[in-house]
């Protein structure tokens, strides 16, 4: 068993970092969603254009604030879900993203999870006004929970810093 920390990157990730597919805000998107936050150093926005009758994703794009693995994971996800129905897209897993990228190391799993989390938020938001289809679960899936947890954690950490700075200000004589 090796104790070596595996390389975070491989040629596929590097290629998608250099030339990402489906990058950029989609002005005429039917739905979009963001997961993560700037403070986490990890944030993904997903934009979807959906054919109303077939409920197929006709176009998907992304924006990302994060490392190269984050950019590659978002990019590959938008490739994978293009042409799929929303139900099919819902069942895409972070593991499939990782496999498609040639295997992400454990330190970068969260990039795939966040991409899926953002996509699931977008799908939920699409059905918000249209009524929930039977295949869409009521409760949050693990990927969605992960995104929420990451967002909450950073709020806690930010408040902690704030408290510490305030305490130091009080301690300092004028």
């Amino acid at each position: 068993m090796s104790s070596r920390i595996p390389l975070a990157y491989n040629p596929k990730v590097l290629e998608l970092f250099k030339n990402p597919k489906n990058l950029g805000r989609m002005e005429d998107a039917d739905v979009d969603a963001v997961a993560g936050s700037i403070a986490c150093g990890d944030m993904i926005a997903i934009y979807l254009k959906i054919d109303k009758t077939s409920e197929k994703i006709s176009a998907a794009s992304f924006e990302s604030y994060g490392c190269a693995a984050n950019i590659a994971a978002s990019s590959i996800l938008t490739e994978m879900i293009k042409g799929k129905t929303l139900e099919e897209a819902w069942h895409v897993t972070w593991k499939e993203i990782s496999d498609e990228l040639g295997g992400l190391p454990s330190v970068k799993f969260h990039c795939g999870i966040l991409a899926v989390g953002a996509m699931k938020r977008a799908i939920r938001s699409y059905y918000k006004e249209r009524g929930k289809p039977s295949w869409l679960p009521e409760g949050l899936t693990p990927d969605e929970k992960h995104a929420v947890e990451e967002e909450k954690l950073i709020e806690i950490l930010n408040r902690r810093i704030q408290r510490r700075m305030e305490a130091e200000q009080k301690h300092k004589p004028e």
Partner: protein, 411 residues
């Protein structure tokens, strides 16, 4: 995964990256450039004068012993101590571990260790380990430029205080502490308290004289003065008691068992010698390039912040800039594709969610820390190198920002 796969993966990754037409290496924080003269000294030592084990009774052993002692004389002269007050380790990290854990294990009564909250992890982690074993660890806050709160420090000194450990030059934001004032504050309260300075970034970058400062322990790292990797040193003032933390066959050093890295030590001494003899020339050149890099980046790119102080209270080599709306690891990679090698304090690089503890201690927000880029100028860089780096940044920052959903001026 089997090792042959890994080798193939690394080869493929490098091939996919490609070899940039021009390269500028600015990551001396993590490791890097070496004086050619230091390399020559090592080659000679490996071939002849440093072959032997310095504690074995034969000519080759004595030659090694002589080379090691001559090296110690050079290092000792640069920091103003006796040659036998220097203990060689194999890294700055090991020197810091020896200082902190060694003095804690030798202490019979006192159990309190005081650090600043911007210390290197090789000071923080051994201290936190001691905390788990019953020691008390206090971290002194710093202000927004990184200067430690001397009044807070003074108030923390008590009869239980064993050690105060602070870096006179911070590795990440380059702040130069008033080490003399700090020593006085500590000694005024209690002369028994031991003082350790992690001087890895101070050696040959500022005037650093252990006798003049009156300190007890100081750590050094060879690669930070452009010597070889794999050599560290700890100054241990005569009479200071440490318990060794590495056990085994003793060679010439009581505090660090095992064979000394003789060729590495010879290379380290050569680098110290060059830096020491050319101190004024090198530091003023590095500071000139530092200021050029800072001014031109801040001047040409919006939403950038300098971390740490400006001017003579900043290490001559240190440039640390936060690029807002840019994630640091992505920017590091984008610059790498252009042949400019830098590092970042983002969480992605540290493999944990929290970004650099040093930047957070200075009151930087998470997003400011995630976008930080650390660069160090060296005596090997030219104006033209810095011009190239300044030329590359705007385009790289523009591309990384274009990927970000959160853009300057709000969404």
């Amino acid at each position: 995964m089997i090792y042959s796969d890994l080798t193939k993966d690394i080869e493929n990754l490098l091939e996919s990256h490609g070899t940039p037409k021009r390269e500028v290496y600015l990551d001396s924080e993590n490791s890097g450039l070496i004086f050619p003269e230091a390399l020559d000294a090592m080659v000679k030592a490996y071939a002849v004068s440093g072959r032997g084990h310095p504690s074995i009774t034969h000519r080759a052993g004595w030659e090694s012993y002589e080379l090691m002692f001559k090296s110690s004389v050079v290092v000792a002269e640069a920091i103003n101590c006796k040659p036998d007050e220097i203990v060689y380790t194999h890294s700055g990290t090991e020197a810091n571990n020896l200082a902190i854990t060694g003095i804690a294990q030798a202490s019979k009564k006192r159990k309190k260790i005081i650090l600043s909250n911007i210390e290197h992890l090789s000071v923080v982690f051994p201290s936190e380990r001691l905390q788990e074993l019953g020691f008390v660890v206090v971290k002194v806050p710093v202000d927004r430029e990184g200067f430690i709160d001397l009044e807070f420090l003074a108030n923390q000194i008590d009869k239980d205080t064993l050690l105060v450990s602070v870096a006179p030059v911070n590795h990440e934001v380059g702040v130069i502490q008033d080490a003399r004032a700090m020593v006085e504050v500590v000694r005024d309260r209690d002369e028994e308290v031991k003082i350790h300075l992690d001087a890895c970034d101070a050696l040959c970058k500022i005037r650093f004289d252990v006798k003049d400062l009156g300190i007890d322990l100081a750590s050094f790292s060879s690669h930070k003065v452009y010597g070889p990797k794999g050599v560290g040193a700890l100054y241990v003032r005569e009479g200071i008691e440490l318990t060794p933390i590495i056990r085994g066959q003793l060679s010439t050093q009581k505090l660090w068992a095992g064979l000394e890295n003789i060729p590495g030590i010879a290379g380290f001494a050569k680098a110290v010698d060059l830096m020491h003899r050319n101190y004024g020339d090198y530091t003023s050149r590095m500071a000139g390039l530092r200021d050029k890099l800072i001014d031109e980046i801040l001047g040409s790119i919006d939403h950038t912040l300098l971390n740490g102080p400006r001017g003579f209270k900043r290490s001559p080599d240190n440039v640390n800039i936060s690029f807002l709306y840019c994630e640091g690891e992505a920017l590091t990679l984008e610059m790498s594709l252009k042949g400019v090698y830098v590092s970042s304090g983002s969480a992605c690089t540290s493999r944990i969610l929290e970004p650099s503890h040093v930047l957070l201690a200075l009151g930087r927000k998470y997003e400011e820390a995630h976008g930080s880029i650390l660069m160090k100028t060296t005596p090997f860089h030219s104006e033209s190198d810095i011009d190239y780096v300044v030329h590359c940044f705007p385009e790289a920052v523009k591309r990384i920002r274009s990927i970000n959903p959160f853009k300057p001026g709000g969404k």
